[in-house]
């Protein structure tokens, strides 16, 4: 991907934001390239949504400047920016049907009827909602509403699409599916995505570049691999690093092989035998009697952390970190298992 990324499309130059004495953002500087999928990752209240609102034109920086194509954006109101947003709560227009929701931006541009019909039709195709044109948005499921929100923004053919935790309200399965769809859309449309989330797994699986934020400051910026492998500070390593990351391969979609075994997973869109990173969170690994689980190992250490024990487990040539509510003495053999949805797959080697 990196090869396609041109010079910066959006540049934030020492942007600060404060409400009175309350400072939200400190000296944010970053570049977002054309066709880049950039994720701003951080805990709630870290200022990531404020960055989106500054880019969207709903807030103005207290100091610093934002450039689009090297032209400053200050003074350009939201409705004149070639930037569209997918809001956290979808914010669909409940008085309009699906078609009119998507056509909203086109009608403002006063496009001819046939063109609106054609463009909306193509968008409905893209988000798999053909045939839903006349439905009222409130009668649709959360996943469907989210697709409409995305279609409504994309139909305007923005230079940049801002997404504010767009999958937060969806259940796990839908979220996985939408992650893949979003990533595919971004690649095929060639639009720059700026994606905000607090979910590190989401950030790491989808992005070209990740910006880790905390308390209004950028902690680290880089490719997902960089962020994983070389966290430069304690916050990043805490926020990102507490995961088990192993090398693996995808023999085919929905199946990953690591540790000498094949595991069913929920990830799709890989070429056969593609090399991947496998991420499994410590709290997603469950412990059972040896021989019962899918893998077995020896307990290296076990430390009580208040609500759970943090265990280090040696399994083959890998060391697992596991959070478990029950203690297992050091030296004992235990089995471990995890569900398909606990396995997170990251593409490896891309752009390297």
């Amino acid at each position: 991907m990196a090869g396609h990324i041109r010079d910066s499309l959006i540049r934030m130059d020492r942007v600060c934001k404060a409400y009175g004495d309350h400072r939200i953002l400190f000296d944010i500087s970053m570049d977002v390239g054309e066709r880049e999928f950039l994720t701003i990752l951080g805990p709630s209240g870290c200022g990531k949504t404020t960055i989106l609102r500054l880019l969207g034109g709903f807030e103005t920086p207290s100091s610093g400047e934002i450039f689009l194509d090297s032209r400053p954006l200050s003074g350009v109101p939201a409705y004149r920016r070639p930037i569209n947003t997918v809001f956290q709560k979808y914010s669909l227009f409940s008085h309009l049907n699906v078609f009119e929701n998507i056509a909203f931006g086109l009608r403002i541009k006063k496009l001819p009827r046939e063109e609106i019909l054609r463009k909306v039709g193509r968008m409905l195709e893209l988000v798999n909602l053909r045939g839903y044109e006349n439905r009222l948005v409130n009668s649709l499921s959360g996943g469907q509403q989210q697709r409409i929100a995305i279609a409504r923004a994309l139909v305007c053919e923005p230079r940049v699409l801002l997404l504010d935790e767009p999958l937060g309200a969806l259940d796990l399965y839908l979220r996985k599916e939408m992650q893949i769809e979003l990533k595919n859309m971004q690649t095929s449309l060639g639009i720059t995505f700026i994606y905000v989330t607090h979910d590190q797994e989401e950030a790491l699986t989808m992005s070209d570049k990740v910006v880790v934020m905390n308390s209004g400051r950028i902690q680290q910026m880089g490719t997902p691999e960089d962020i994983y492998n070389e966290p430069t500070n304690v916050f990043t390593s805490r926020f990102i690093g507490e995961s088990n990351i192993f090398d693996g391969v995808m023999p085919r979609d929905l199946l990953v092989s690591f540790g000498g075994r094949e595991h069913v997973c929920v990830d799709r869109g890989f070429s056969p035998m593609q090399e991947v990173h496998v991420v499994i969170r410590p709290e997603d690994v469950r412990v059972c009697e040896p021989g019962r689980g899918t893998l077995r190992g020896e307990v290296l250490s076990s430390v009580f952390k208040g609500v759970h024990y943090e265990m280090m487990l040696k399994e083959g040539d890998r060391v697992w970190m596991i959070h478990n509510t029950k203690n297992h003495p050091v030296g004992t053999e235990v089995g471990i298992y995890f569900g398909p949805e606990d396995i997170h797959i990251m593409k490896r080697g891309e752009g390297e």
């Binding site: 034109g57 103005t60 109101p77």
Partner: protein, 280 residues
């Protein structure tokens, strides 16, 4: 910030509310503290309020108050058992019954009162029924009884609704717990139900008392004009006597009485619905 274009909408309203809600009250207040001077100018004076203290007007006030208290008391007496019964009804009945209770309030106050003229007339339906049973017809209309009936009729739903909302909030478990502890039904009522319904009682009392104190249509139609209440006195001062100063001071006194009652209510009960007061 980006909505600046429609923010101007608050200014016309500020102007409107000032002109048609706030200033009129100021004018009334101003009238109440002035009297017409020798050369027709208004002169500051407390005369209107002093005049109110004279026996004739105190009598009107006390009559209004007594009548309002009486009708409030009767509403409470009739309304409490009714509210209690409604809370004990099956859920699906309850809403229908409450709706039936509210419907008459939708109908013009004046017409509801006029309807009683038809019922209570010398040759009206009530006397017809009495005569059917061989009882002598009575002179109902233009008596205090008629005014009282009219008030109870018009304000009863305002009593029942807040009572119902307070009573329906008492959990079945509370009552069962009390019975479990050995209380008989009378004790349960006196010690559990009654104390917990106090906010509803207070809300009901104010919601009946307020309109009853300011009523002038009921007394004008069913009392036949010879039955003067403070509302009629205000009407008279403004429309027939033309002493707006005195009329205004009467209105201010009435508002103060009502505001005090409302303050009292909000002290006792923040939860009970005052919204019933908006229904007509």
């Amino acid at each position: 910030m980006k909505r600046a274009d429609v923010n101007f909408l608050q200014y016309p309203y500020i102007l409107w509310a000032g002109l048609f809600i706030f200033i009129p009250l100021v004018i009334v207040l101003w009238y109440s503290f002035t009297v017409a001077g020798a050369d027709g100018d208004a002169v500051f004076s407390l005369e209107n309020y002093e005049r109110f203290l004279s026996p004739v007007y105190m009598q009107v006030l006390s009559r209004s108050a007594v009548l309002a208290v009486k009708s409030t008391f009767i509403c409470l007496l009739i309304g409490y058992p009714a509210a209690l019964i409604i809370t004990r009804l099956p859920r699906m009945w309850r809403n229908t019954i409450l709706l039936l209770l509210v419907i008459p309030m939708w109908i013009n106050f004046l017409l509801r009162t006029y309807a009683w003229m038809v019922l209570l007339g010398r040759r009206g339906v009530l006397n017809r029924i009495l005569e059917f049973f061989g009882l002598p017809g009575q002179e109902w209309l233009y008596t205090e009884t008629a005014v009282l009936i009219g008030m109870v009729y018009n304000f009863l739903p305002f009593m029942v609704l807040p009572l119902y909302s307070a009573l329906s909030r008492i959990g079945k478990e509370t009552i069962e717990a009390a019975e479990d502890l050995g209380a008989n039904r009378f004790v349960v009522f006196r010690r559990v139900v009654l104390p917990q319904s106090v906010p509803g009682v207070i809300a009901g009392i104010t919601m009946v008392f307020m309109p009853a104190v300011s009523a002038f249509v009921v007394s004008a139609l069913l009392g036949g004009g010879q039955y003067m209440l403070i509302g009629n006195l205000i009407e008279q001062q403004f429309l027939y006597v033309g002493d707006w100063h005195f009329g205004s001071s009467l209105s201010i006194i009435m508002m103060v009485v009502i505001l005090l009652t409302m303050a009292l209510v909000s002290l006792y009960d923040k939860g009970a619905s005052l919204e019933g007061g908006n229904l007509w």
